[in-house]
Structures are given as structure tokens and as C-alpha cells.
């Protein structure tokens, strides 16, 4: 059987979910024989490829680029997994939504005007820094999500359980301790 084509990606998260993936430790060595990481921050590939079997997406949608890319990933991926609480619910990054209508401007003002001593102003170079969304949202507000893997981050054991089920050709079911948030 061909190795399973797996991708991992992060949007507005903290990379903790990816670190938890690396916490699979020596199981990574077993995995290397069964899956091929075709796109991920930890490998050198330049473009999101076609015909990806499984994509783990970490993080909430915070800016316009996140949304554009999520749509492309959806088209090219068979099983899309919301990887961790930020992807599932929006989690911590959605705290800015509570600041109200102008939250996207307020957060930038604090960082780049009030907490700056030199050249105060909001970074805005076109084509370089992406525009923030008005509200931070989870993945399923924009595309269909096949599986939800909760946790902040999901512990390595939970990630392993999901991957093993996919590798065995089952449609994964997470139960009990494997469906906790936080």
C-alpha cells in the first residue's frame, strides 16, 4: 500500500498542537514508514500539493490569508481535521472578539502605537502583512470539517489514536478521555 499522504498546517495558533505531534517521540520513527509528510512547517515543501489524504490544521482563522488558504486546502484534501481547540472552537485567539466591533484595530493600536517608542503606526504594507479579520473564527465556519480533535493541545496519545485508526482504514471515533477540551 502507498504511504498515507499527510499534511499539517498552522493558522492562528501557538504551534503547541504541532509540538504535541512531535511529542509522539519514537512513534514518529514508526510513522515515517507508514505516512509521508507532504506538507508541513517541519519539512521543506513549497506548495500545498494535490491529493492529500489527511490534513491536520492547527489554529483559528485570524486573517484573510488564513481563509484563502483554508479553501484551497479543502479542495485538495480528503480528510480535513480541526487539530486542537483553536481550530475547533477558536479558543484563546477569539478573546479579541469580546473587545467588540473595532477589536481588529484596537489590538493593533495597543501593540504598535501605545507600546512602541519609535516609528509608531500599524504595519500595513500591501501584499506583505495580511489584513486581520473582523472576528476570529473556527475552521468549520468556512469549510466542511471531517474530524474534530479537541485539546489545548490534544495530547500525543490522542493524536496517535486518531492516526492509527485512519491508518487502519477505519473512520476514526474518539471517545471518553479523548474528547476533552483544554
Amino acid at each position: 500500500m502507498d504511504r498515507l499522504r499527510v499534511a499539517t498546517i498552522w493558522f492562528g495558533g501557538c504551534s503547541g498542537c504541532h509540538m504535541s505531534f512531535l511529542d509522539l517521540d519514537e512513534f514518529l520513527i514508526d510513522l515515517a514508514a507508514k505516512i509521508e509528510i507532504v506538507f508541513s512547517p517541519v519539512v521543506d515543501t513549497k506548495e500545498y500539493p494535490a491529493a492529500v489524504d489527511v490534513c491536520l490544521i492547527e489554529g483559528a482563522l485570524c486573517n484573510e490569508e488564513n481563509v484563502e488558504w483554508l479553501k484551497i486546502i479543502r479542495e485538495r484534501t480528503r480528510v480535513l481535521v480541526a487539530f486542537g481547540d483553536c481550530a475547533v472552537t477558536g479558543n484563546v485567539p477569539t478573546m479579541r472578539n469580546a473587545l467588540g466591533l473595532n477589536n481588529d484595530v484596537n489590538v493593533l493600536d495597543r501593540a504598535y502605537r501605545e507600546c512602541a517608542d519609535n516609528n509608531q503606526g500599524i504595519p500595513n504594507e500591501a501584499g506583505i502583512v495580511p489584513t486581520l479579520l473582523k472576528r476570529v473564527i473556527p475552521l468549520h465556519e468556512v469549510v466542511h470539517v471531517d474530524l474534530f480533535l479537541p485539546g489545548c493541545p490534544p495530547p500525543a496519545g490522542r493524536i496517535k489514536s486518531l492516526l492509527v485508526q485512519v491508518l487502519e482504514g477505519q473512520s476514526p471515533v474518539l471517545e471518553g478521555a479523548n474528547i476533552k477540551f483544554g
Binding site: 498546517i9 498552522w10 492562528g12 495558533g13 501557538c14 504551534s15 503547541g16 498542537c17 504541532h18 509540538m19 504535541s20 511529542d23 517521540d25 519514537e26 514518529l28 520513527i29 515515517a32 509528510i37 506538507f39 512547517p41 517541519v42 519539512v43 521543506d44 515543501t45 513549497k46 506548495e47 500545498y48 485570524c62 486573517n63 490569508e65 488564513n66 484563502e68 488558504w69 484551497i72 484563546v92 485567539p93 478573546m95 479579541r96 469580546a98 477589536n103 484596537n106 489590538v107 495597543r110 501593540a111 504598535y112 507600546c115 512602541a116 517608542d117 519609535n118 516609528n119 503606526g121 504595519p123 504594507e125 506583505i128 502583512v129 495580511p130 486581520l132 489545548c152 493541545p153 495530547p155
Partner: protein, 475 residues
């Protein structure tokens, strides 16, 4: 005609960092900028929260070094309460920080950077990563994976989970080191030493063939900053700040981090979400300074533990005055792993880590407090202003990677100058520029996320938008 080359880690998917290289009329590199393009807004949305919640919220800034945010946040809480925490709590926090230095530095060396030195710069793109290392050298990969695991297990043994433990609190920590935990750490120490020494030998033999990398990967004068103890030894969680210059002279010493805004300013770059801190007395941008392993080893006089001290002597010989090449961050990182294991070993026989006196109790006694800790990548500051009830009014965070921003820009320019001539982009530049940035192990989650291997495309764009030339690494 002046032009700009944009290196976009493609993926506006990952889309968290980009690089621009500017050419002058003659086609020579005039400057370069490193852009960070992710922003989440913690400094604002934490307002109104209780200071006691901050150690739960702020580690979600970064899952690579969550312990740094946890500890800096708890320490800012200590400052607001104006307490000295119990000695056992301080040592336990230190033990967790050492675990984090080990895991994070092992990740940087084995998982992210070593494929370049060990598999070679010209290895096929699909194989130049940790999985390539697994198939090329499974024993070494396993050793590296297990060294990172050792650090992560220390964190888990203390805080019940490897990532985002809810363990340190304003005033102390929640729980001590258990007997079984201590036993587990003790048993692992010999293997951790062995792997670290293996990595040190590997890197030192790499140096023999990497003279050019040492020359052009961020080799320039700058200031260096880090915490030191009262007698000028290496410090990772207490102590006071020291700045030195490239000649190795101390230019400011024993500065209290509580007053950091007196000597550190922050500048904004309109093309990046990463701010550039600078040393205020020298102004912007002359006050450029570096932080992290290279800086910590430059500012300290000794590590304070024998094996790492022997390595430090060798390290210091690599510079006149200070060691100025950023390529040597890798070496400094390995020496810090060694020192951390030695300190962990010392703690294993220390009864203070097993006491039950772990928390100081107090209300709010100050309305402004700073927490500082040496994160794996450099000094991290959390500044909180609160009201009388301890509700946050204002937050300012100065993260390690930001403080290296000016130096990373300079490094990219230096490498580009070496590899770009005229309008022709030479392919090796792509990987070298990435590798130059990777020396700093930028923890861009702390402000963005470009972990390690960034996929890249470079285009040379004329001012009118025409693409003159395009290169992709695996094209």
C-alpha cells in the same frame, strides 16, 4: 533601477514570515527585511482579566516555549504581590525552565537544523528534514528525539502535562517534585549526557568545513544582552541584566528588569508584525542587540558548572572579544543543553525541591510588575499594570525573537550580499537565507510561527510589478 526581491515562504498558507531583499541600481544588494505576518493581539485582549489567570492564558502565545511565558507571567504576579517566593518554589520553577531549555534546543538542533549539516545543504528537498534524518541515520534521530523527550518529561513530571501545564502561579508553584518523578529523571541523565556530547562532537567537526557559514551567517558587530548572576555567571531565571559589546566589554551591568522600559525601546517596521526592540541609550537602530544562547554565552564569564565551563572556554576562543557569528548560536545552544543537564543533576539531591512550602500568599501590593525569564531564544519580559483588585489594565510583552529582529534583518542582508549578484538569483541562496534565519531558532509563534524549515520562492520584482526572474528551491 532599484528592485525588490520578495522571498515568500510560499504558503501564504503557513504565511507567517516573508523576506524582501532590496537591490540598488547596479543590482547589488542594498538592504533586506524579514517580515512577520501573524498577529493575535494578546497585549490588548488580556485587559480586564485577573492577573492570576495570566499564567493560564499567556502560554498560549507559544507552544514551543510555553514554560517561558508561564514562568514570566507567574513572576510578574510575584512582583504585583511584592513577595519573595519560597526557596523550593524558585528551584522548582528553575528545574522546569531547564527542562524547557533542553527540549527546545534539542528540537532546534536535531529536528530542524541538523539535516542541513548532517545530510548536507544539497540534499534533495523532500529528504532534508527530520524524517530524512530518520531514514538516513535512525540511531542519531532516535537519540535526538529522546533528548527532546527528556526535557518534555521533566516539564510533565512537574506540571502534569508537556505543553501548557497549569502549574506556576503568582507566589509560587502548585506541586513539588515527586519521588517517582525524581527517580525517572535521574535514570535518564546518563543518556542525555551521551547524546549531548555526541551532538557537540558532530557540530565541532561540522565547523571545520563551514568556515564560510561562520563568516557570512550573521557575522557582525552588535550588542548582546542576557541575565547574569551577581558575580557574572550564566543565569536563566533570576539575576539581573547585562549588556556587552562586540569587543566583549560590559557596557551596562546589573540592570533591574523591573525598569526595562528605561533602557529598552521598541520600534515598529511598517512591513512586519514583529517589533524591533533596541538599547535606548544608543537609539534606533544603533542600539541593535542580540539575545539568546549566543548572547548569554557572550555576556557571562562562566557557566557555573564544570563540563559546560570547559566547553565555554573553547567557545570563547572563536571570537575576539565577543563571538559575533550567528552561525555559532548552534554551538551555544548545545553548551546550554550540557549546562542544563548538569544543573538538573544537582537538583536531584536537593531536598528543597520536595518540600510542601511552595506558595507565598498576598494581595495586590503594587500596581505595576515585570516578570522576566530567559526563554530558550532569549530574554522574555511580561509587564502588567493592574487595578487594586488585580484586574489587568495594560500588558506589554517583549519576546526573545523580537529582540533579534534587527540582527535577523542584518543577517539576511549579509547572506544575500554574498549570494546575489546582479539580477541573477543563485539557487543556493534560498536555503542559505533560511538557514541564516534558522540560526536564531526564531520562535515566531511568540509573534508569528515560521518554525524551522520555511518553504520558499524568490521573485525578483521590478518596481512596476513585472516579475524579472523567479526561482523556487525545488524548481
Amino acid at each position: 533601477m532599484a528592485k525588490r526581491i520578495v522571498i515568500d515562504p510560499v504558503t501564504r498558507i503557513e504565511g507567517h514570515a516573508k523576506i524582501s531583499v532590496f537591490l540598488d541600481d547596479e543590482g547589488n544588494v542594498s538592504d533586506a527585511e524579514f517580515h512577520v505576518v501573524e498577529f493575535r493581539g494578546f497585549e490588548k485582549f488580556c485587559e480586564g482579566r485577573s492577573y492570576a489567570e495570566m499564567p493560564g492564558i499567556t502560554p498560549r502565545i507559544c507552544g514551543i516555549c510555553p514554560v517561558s511565558h508561564l514562568l514570566a507571567s507567574a513572576k510578574a504576579g510575584d512582583a504585583l504581590m511584592a513577595v519573595d517566593i519560597p526557596v523550593g518554589a524558585d528551584k522548582l520553577r528553575r528545574l522546569m525552565n531547564l527542562g524547557q531549555i533542553i527540549q527546545s534546543h534539542a528540537l532546534s538542533f536535531f529536528h530542524l537544523s541538523s539535516p542541513d549539516f548532517l545530510l548536507g545543504w544539497d540534499t534533495e528537498v523532500a529528504k532534508r528534514n527530520v524524517f530524512g534524518l530518520i531514514s538516513a541515520n535512525p540511531d542519531l534521530a532516535r537519540a535526538g528525539i529522546r533528548l527532546r523527550q527528556f526535557g518534555q518529561e521533566i516539564i510533565e513530571i512537574l506540571g502534569d502535562r508537556k505543553i501548557h501545564p497549569a502549574w506556576a502561579v503568582p507566589g509560587g508553584v502548585r506541586s513539588a517534585l515527586s519521588k517517582t518523578g525524581r527517580q525517572r529523571i535521574k535514570e535518564w541523565i546518563p543518556e542525555a549526557y551521551k547524546t549531548t556530547k555526541l551532538a557537540l562532537d558532530l557540530f565541532k567537526s561540522t565547523l571545520k568545513t563551514h568556515g564560510r557559514e561562520v563568516q557570512v551567517f550573521g557575522n557582525f558587530q552588535s550588542l548582546f544582552m542576557g541575565l547574569v548572576t551577581e558575580d557574572g555567571s550564566w543565569e536563566h531565571h533570576g539575576g539581573l541584566l547585562r549588556f556587552t559589546d562586540s569587543s566583549g566589554s560590559v557596557i551596562a551591568d546589573q540592570l533591574d528588569p523591573q525598569n526595562f522600559s528605561e533602557f529598552i525601546g521598541e520600534s515598529v517596521q511598517s512591513s512586519s508584525y514583529l517589533k524591533s526592540p533596541y538599547y535606548k541609550p544608543m537609539g534606533f537602530p544603533d542600539g541593535m542587540y542580540r539575545v539568546g544562547p549566543l548572547a548569554r554565552l557572550n555576556v557571562c564569564e562562566r557557566m557555573g558548572v564544570p563540563q559546560a565551563d570547559a566547553e565555554l572556554k573553547y567557545f570563547k576562543k572563536l571570537g575576539r572579544g565577543a563571538v559575533t557569528s550567528s552561525f555559532l548560536y548552534h554551538y551555544a545552544r548545545l553548551i546550554e543543553i550540557l549546562a542544563s543537564i548538569e544543573l538538573v543533576e544537582q537538583y536531584m539531591d536537593d531536598p528543597d525541591l520536595m518540600t510542601d512550602h511552595l506558595r507565598a500568599e498576598a494581595g495586590i501590593n503594587k500596581l505595576k510588575g515585570v516578570g522576566v525569564s530567559e526563554a530558550p531564544r532569549g530574554t522574555l519580559f511580561h509587564l502588567y499594570e493592574v487595578d487594586r483588585n488585580g484586574l489587568i489594565q495594560k500588558v506589554n510583552l517583549i519576546v526573545a525573537t523580537g529582540q533579534n529582529n534587527l540582527a535577523m534583518n542584518r543577517t539576511v542582508a549579509q547572506i544575500a550580499k554574498h549570494y546575489v549578484k546582479g539580477e541573477k538569483i543563485q539557487e543556493p541562496m534560498l536555503n542559505r537565507v533560511e538557514a541564516g534565519i534558522r540560526c536564531y531558532d526564531p520562535c515566531l509563534s511568540c509573534s508569528t510561527h515560521a518554525l524551522g524549515k520555511m518553504p520558499m520562492a524568490v521573485s525578483l520584482v521590478a518596481p512596476d510589478g513585472r516579475v524579472l526572474n523567479e526561482v523556487t528551491r525545488d524548481g
